[in-house]
């Protein structure tokens, strides 16, 4: 008999936070590219082309701590929503006009704000989504 275990929202959010600091940048890049596609991932990371994020996913160097932190924030948000609702919802969440972010899309906030501020705001938006 197959038993389906429902993972609570708190556990998913905690896992996302832990993995965002434990998992290598290469694995994080691979995860977000697999989950939402390289084009959306690149846009959310403020990159002009998919080549850079694909290179990161294959172990290429990440130049600058801001890029690394932004990738960490994108991974954390993508992981939480994907694990809870699946990859299609994770992509829709990143693209969607979000009331918790002043009707901006999480990908816009991640790409344009400082990584620390963007991480805080987008995780708060994920928490609002989970609480609704």
């Amino acid at each position: 008999m197959e038993v389906q275990v429902s993972v609570s929202d708190e556990v998913v959010l905690e896992q996302a936070q832990k993995l965002s600091v434990q998992v290598s940048s290469e694995e994080q890049a691979r995860y977000v590219v697999d989950a939402v596609g390289s084009r959306l991932a690149a846009a959310a990371l403020g990159l002009r082309d998919t080549r850079t994020v694909n290179s990161w996913a294959h172990g290429g160097p990440i130049k600058g701590p801001l890029h690394e932190h932004r990738l960490q924030a994108l991974f954390r948000v993508t992981y939480a929503v994907k694990e809870r609702y699946g990859p299609a919802v994770a992509a829709a969440f990143l693209r969607g006009s979000n009331p918790a972010l002043g009707n901006r899309a999480p990908m816009t906030v991640l790409a344009n704000e400082s990584p620390a501020a963007a991480e805080q705001a987008t995780i708060a938006a994920v928490e609002t989504l989970f609480a609704s």
């Binding site: 990159l47 082309d49 998919t50 693209r95 969607g96 899309a105 990908m107």
Partner: protein, 95 residues
Amino acid sequence: MTHRELELPDTGVVRIAVDPGRLPRSTGAPGPNRFDDPRPNTLSPFIVRYTATTARGCFLELLGWLRPDADARTAEAAVVDEIRLPFLRRMMTTT
């Protein structure tokens, strides 16, 4: 007016949630676009549970965050996809 005094429509109300009867979690601060309790440390907190008179109203509220954002669409469309680059280069050399 408390919830006990509130008159609900005779036809009832609709709420869409995993557990519609459960009260939402209190975060200690009003959520965005919500009428939550603005007093974080009060001894008499209140929690707001939103309902609608129709399922359509619920879905409009519930799925509002899925509306695609125009700026996000533009930013994503502007990203150069390396998979398409060889094709585009071929097109440019043949024209």
